[in-house]
Symmetry: C2
Subunit: 346 residues, 2 copies
């Protein structure tokens, strides 16, 4: 069987079965060094405790022509985004970024100036949103790739319980999201189909900017944790995909109220028929998806300087994620790829 014939989920599942048993004795000996493994898989980042500090670590790779295209992005934006996506995983655990290591696989025909601009973008993202680059490795490769490993931690006076996990969704809780959804996916769609759009339009520019230069919700994640939110994840693979992962981890279901999903005006105007598709199935908005009871959510909406929208409710229906339209009807996509939605009776 080839890698192309198996899903990533299934491959990781098989890998876990190999890694986990041999891990156990290793973890015991690592305890003697003062570190305790709390969570190693099934979330945005792994969690370990060292003395009084709770630490998280996440790793993300960007590969040319898979995750980015040098015809569309500047090196500086590429560096920025490579850090943002890792910060976002740290933020979704309620932690702040600390130390990053960068591995680059470089084609020999890449411009040195480009690589320096890449690091300028990385440094800027660290400077503005947290974390610092402390090491790395540069190797030759026929395919250009960037691999970022980012550590993060809760402030010393926090407790382990204040880390935000995927598996803490509770039935009855409100499902919320920071910012707006779908703009990044729409920006990518425009970049892939330049004939569709006028690149001089500021609305088009805004959507493209959302894709090439997103932000990470670092301060929001830490604040939500302090307010008592327990469950969070960042939306990097799209609302539906990521919510399904959260529900599966938490053993619950969810209803999403389509008309409550926050959408930027630019997206609604430029894609009057497709905006909901971008919002539900698009990815790379790096917004936080989280839940809490009414009191906590109301407090969060009042205290955070960030738009927070209630977009659904957690249910006890295990792994059953349902989209509900404005008339109260549940809707399902007609086929793979979420190209369209169809009303479903009952």
């Amino acid at each position: 069987m080839l890698v192309s014939e198996i899903s990533e989920f299934e491959l990781i599942n098989r890998i876990q079965k190999i890694v986990s048993p041999q891990n156990e004795t290793s973890i015991e000996s690592i305890k003697k060094l003062g570190h305790d493994l709390v969570l190693s898989i099934d979330d945005d980042a792994a969690v370990f405790k060292s003395s009084h500090t709770s630490n998280v670590v996440t790793t993300d790779a960007l590969v040319e022509n898979v995750h980015f295209n040098l015809e569309w992005t500047t090196f500086q934006d590429l560096g920025w985004k490579s850090i943002i996506s890792s910060q976002s995983d740290i933020a979704s655990m309620g932690c702040k970024p600390t130390f990053a290591t960068i591995t680059l696989g470089l084609r020999p025909d890449l411009p040195v100036d480009g690589i320096l601009q890449l690091y300028q973008g990385m440094s800027k993202a660290c400077h503005e949103l947290g974390g610092t680059i402390i090491g790395g490795d540069i190797v030759a490769s026929e395919t250009f790739f960037i691999s970022v490993t980012m550590n993060g931690s809760l402030p010393i006076d926090h407790t382990e319980r204040q880390i935000l996990y995927r598996n803490k969704l509770l039935p009855g809780d409100l499902l919320c999201v920071t910012g707006t959804l779908g703009s990044s996916a729409a920006g990518l769609h425009i970049l892939k189909n330049p004939n569709l759009m006028d690149f001089n339009s500021s609305m088009v520019k805004n959507l493209i900017e959302s894709h090439l230069h997103p932000s990470s919700r670092v301060s929001e994640g830490a604040k939500l944790a302090k307010l008592g939110v327990k469950a969070a994840m960042d939306i990097s693979d799209g609302l539906m995909t990521d919510l399904k992962k959260m529900c599966s981890s938490s053993n619950v279901g969810a209803n999403i109220f389509l008309n409550q999903i926050p959408i930027s005006p630019d997206l609604k105007i430029l894609f009057p028929n497709d905006w909901i598709e971008f919002a539900v199935s698009g990815g790379e908005d790096y917004e936080l998806l989280f839940s809490g009871n009414e009191k906590i959510i109301s407090l969060a909406q009042k205290t955070l300087n960030t738009q927070i929208n209630i977009i659904g409710k957690i249910t006890s229906g295990k792994n059953n994620v349902t989209l509900v339209d404005s008339t109260g009807k549940s809707v399902v996509p007609t086929y793979n790829g979420w190209d369209h939605f169809k009303s479903q009776e009952g």
Copy 2:
């Protein structure tokens, strides 16, 4: 200017100038999270303190057809070696491996079984020599690559001063090495030139095994640190290259006594004219290069269950690394690549 037109050293130098200034304010805010950056470049691993623990982190990437060849290596050996090389960087700081994250870039036509064997090799290396895999990322890539980020730490009761650094060589100290040198490079040479050798010979097999399935000196590194050794580095790029880096960091020089370099009998017999070249310029033996005064070295030779040889002496001649032959004459390589050595008068 293209990446191919600049040395890795020069590229990293330019990157540092970009990263360092912006790092400063980030490091201040990270202090509030309870972490203190001790050393971020110029060694095998970066060092940071969290509460009472001194931590190190290193990252290494292996790229197909640059660092490995699937015609020569099994997936299991490849996984094993990818962990060993990271453990070795941790060992050379006097620390023990703790948490590893693995990023894989996979060609779609790679066999799933191979990837599982890769993880078997990784898990085995962690199990036998330390560390545990706690996370990672798997992405599609036209070029197969493996990126390992490994954390390590000193035991809680150790102090920061017991970390082994590259820049602690002192004039007058003895220069030592664990194990033997050159076997890995000779093994690679045989793999690249299969017509040269009989693959059924056990001597040939031993050298190839040295290249494909090396070990890391994890327990030795920690023991040397406890005995009072201050300066160490692992030999991954070859004795001469790595010693020059250490001397440059420490602002000292060194004399290497060629006839004292430990060589395996297999290497001497199979390559009667070239063994010294493999030992001095070959890489990937993952032995520890370290220094100390006579008392400490004598203690290390008595207490460690590992061959430790004195191969030279640290001098005050800044950055001046000299090879000395059995007659006491200094020798220099005739040209790039260390193909031959030539006696030098005086």
